[in-house]
């Protein structure tokens, strides 16, 4: 009985320390590092199945895929030629106007190793970690668009919270009319944009891209498309539901973008952004930001 009370009290203290203060992340990192070999053992069966599937994939399928990829590469090369000239022109114009030239962040390629142990959190675990110079706060993208943000870094892996997670928010811009807003993750694999007036100029099918206001996500990456807008007389705000463009569920590779130099130094002081308990705080501060954006 005494032991039960003692350990129960101890675990409550640990919870409070872990939620409010940031002392235990070191312990967690060390433990996950030590757990790495066991995790590798646990991964063996699924890796075997995956490799066997690869081995037995039919020849015709590979030929078809090869053909498709060649065609895609050709189409992209044509587009790329135009892009290069446009980029040169853009940089020239920017230098004429005295603007900063846009930066292209470097990136690390990572594989999704699994989708997290807790089915009720929108996270994926990537096989790149502290040993590969990954930092908490880095943006993660795939070939289609933004996936999310690195929230926890372990020695050999890191945890990426998806943009659809309730605790994550991302500054966006409507591609059509450059309207700035902040999209919040919502349960059910969607995002939503609150705090926009009911008469806002957003239509179903509009594409949202990152605005780059936060300095974490580089500007111009695809985030989501607007799928549903509810504008009722009972509310002064429009209810805008969007679905993410990136396809996390369909492939295993993703890119982890390096943080821009300007905030690389600050991040060490920040606690790993958006843990479960700090979600509310983050939302509150974002709310403030949205308001100042919306009212010109």
């Amino acid at each position: 009985m005494l032991l039960a009370i003692a350990v129960a009290a101890l675990s409550i203290i640990i919870m409070a320390v872990d939620a409010r203060l940031n002392y235990l992340s070191q312990l967690r990192q060390a433990f996950i590092g030590g757990l790495h070999p066991i995790e590798r053992i646990a991964n063996i069966p699924s890796e075997l199945i995956r490799d066997a599937n690869k081995y037995f994939s039919a020849h015709s399928q590979l030929v078809q895929e090869n053909h498709m990829l060649k065609q895609q590469a050709f189409e992209r090369e044509v587009k790329l030629q135009r892009l290069n000239t446009l980029q040169a022109e853009n940089e020239h114009l920017r230098s004429l106007l005295g603007g900063d030239s846009p930066t292209h962040p470097r990136a690390t390629l990572g594989d999704i190793s699994h989708t997290g142990r807790d089915p009720f959190r929108n996270v994926v675990i990537v096989n790149r970690g502290g040993q590969h110079n990954i930092q908490a706060g880095q943006a993660v993208v795939d070939s289609k668009g933004v996936i999310g943000q690195v929230t926890r870094v372990y020695p050999f892996s890191s945890e990426v919270t998806l943009i659809t997670d309730k605790s994550l928010s991302i500054p966006v811009q409507v591609e059509r009319n450059q309207l700035r807003a902040i999209a919040f993750g919502q349960s059910g694999n969607t995002l939503d944009i609150p705090y926009l007036p009911a008469n806002v100029d957003i239509k179903v099918g509009d594409k949202l891209v990152t605005s780059g206001m936060d300095g974490v996500y580089p500007p111009g990456l695809a985030v989501a498309t607007v799928t549903k807008i509810e504008q009722g007389p009972e509310s002064t705000f429009a209810k805008i539901i969007c679905s993410p463009i990136a396809e996390v569920a369909y492939h295993l590779q993703l890119l982890i973008l390096e943080l821009p130099d300007s905030i690389e130094t600050d991040v060490s002081n920040l606690e790993p952004i958006k843990e479960e308990s700090t979600a509310k705080k983050v939302k509150k501060s974002n709310k403030k930001r949205t308001r100042s954006h919306v009212s010109p």
Binding site: V17, R28, E276
Partner: protein
């Protein structure tokens, strides 16, 4: 039938951890039972002299560290569940296998609810009824463990041997 010893307790807990760490993907993850909790309850009910509340707490902390949840969440839930499990442990000798299964179902449900409450305190969203699937799959897992490791309802056999 697995002879109860300190080694078999820790070895089975280690294998439960392996299953817990197994990279589950897709929709099936909703049905994943709490391997660690079920194995822990088995040893708590069968051999309380090898495995006590302290073990329950340590196992819970291990699960917290491995799953990346708030540290202490599973530790507290496992401690409370273990305490309830142990407080009726001596009476279980008189129970039939079916009654013990019902008891374990209740314990798993309690443990899951405790974790849910702690999660809600930590700022999680409401999770819906799907969250309780592991209680049912955990009860099924209990049957498998009971059959392979040996029943707990007849500890007198051991003394007669």
């Amino acid at each position: 039938m697995l002879a109860p010893s300190l080694l078999s307790v820790y070895a089975s807990l280690f294998f439960a951890l392996l299953f817990q760490l197994f990279p589950w993907t897709g929709q099936g993850i909703i049905f994943r039972p709490d391997f660690m909790l079920v194995v822990l309850l088995y040893w708590l009910l069968r051999t309380p002299y090898l495995c006590n509340i302290g073990t329950a707490w340590a196992v819970g902390l291990l699960v917290d560290l491995a799953t990346g949840s708030l540290l202490g969440q599973h530790a507290l839930a496992f401690t409370l569940t273990g305490y309830i499990a142990l407080s009726f442990q001596r009476r279980l000798v008189l129970f039939s296998a079916f009654q013990i299964t019902l008891y374990v179902f209740g314990l798993l449900f309690f443990g899951r609810t405790a974790i849910l409450i702690l999660k809600l305190f930590a700022g999680s969203e409401a999770l819906g009824w799907l969250y309780f699937w592991p209680v049912i799959t955990g009860t099924l897992l209990w049957q498998i463990i009971r059959i392979t490791f040996g029943s707990i309802s007849r500890p007198k056999n051991r003394e007669n041997r």
